[in-house]
Amino acid sequence: MIKLDVVYFAWVRERIGLAKEQVETEAKTINDLVAELSAREERYQLAFQDMSVVKVAIDQTLVSLDAPLDGAKEVAFFPPMTGG
């Protein structure tokens, strides 16, 4: 069991309804975590229904969906960036 800070931005934040939470999980990878959260409540399912338009960072570095959660402190979910 690990404890993660999970943060959400833009429409991912809006769909989930919060900006930050602490999650206790047995998930080994980002994919596992997405599946676990989606199973918990519909708002997660809604946010994560199309993971091709969701980006993920572990400890402020972009990672792919199969990235392991070993040693992770903060996981972030957000849409593709639109700055500039």
Binding site: V7, F9, A57, Q60, E74, M81, G84
Partner: protein, 149 residues
């Protein structure tokens, strides 16, 4: 080589002066300023810029350092604002100073292309009758890819 993330507006002329002051090896300065554009002919109230504070500065520095490594630059900078911005307001700027104009232009375009896809900012347009997140564009990923050849 400097990056700043701030709510406040910036002055293009001042920033360029500070960047280049006293350096006589600069031959070319290129700047880009992004502006809140109203595509609806008056229905846009504001553009809200959200970012991921813990990640933003480091992401911009990575982009800035990549440009400094690839081109001959005397100096470069990125400023990006966040918060609620009115139509016509400045969103961000980059500036590049180089001995040669080609380097200054290419580095500025590189900074913009990477910033669009790699810096954790998101834009939401607030209209009189609702709000809409600005979608990312396939064209932006394509623009970035040209630097990988």
């Amino acid at each position: 080589m400097a990056v700043r993330v701030q709510a406040e507006d910036f002055d293009l002329g001042d920033e360029v002066s500070k960047l280049t002051d006293g350096n006589t090896d600069i031959g070319a300065i290129v700047t880009f300023v992004g502006v809140v554009r109203d595509t609806t002919n008056g229905a846009l109230l504001s553009m809200e810029l959200e970012h991921y504070p813990a990640m933003t500065k480091q992401a911009l520095e990575t982009i800035d350092q990549a440009a400094a490594k690839r081109w001959s630059l005397n100096a470069s900078m990125i400023i990006h604002r966040y918060g609620d911005l009115a139509p016509g307001a400045q969103i961000m700027m980059v500036a590049t100073a180089s001995p040669h104009r080609k380097d200054a232009f290419e580095a500025a375009e590189f900074l913009m292309d990477y910033l669009k896809t790699d810096a954790p900012f998101w834009k939401k347009e607030n209209f009189k009758d609702g709000a809409k997140w600005v979608g990312s564009k396939a064209a932006d990923e394509d623009a970035k890819d040209r630097w990988k050849a």
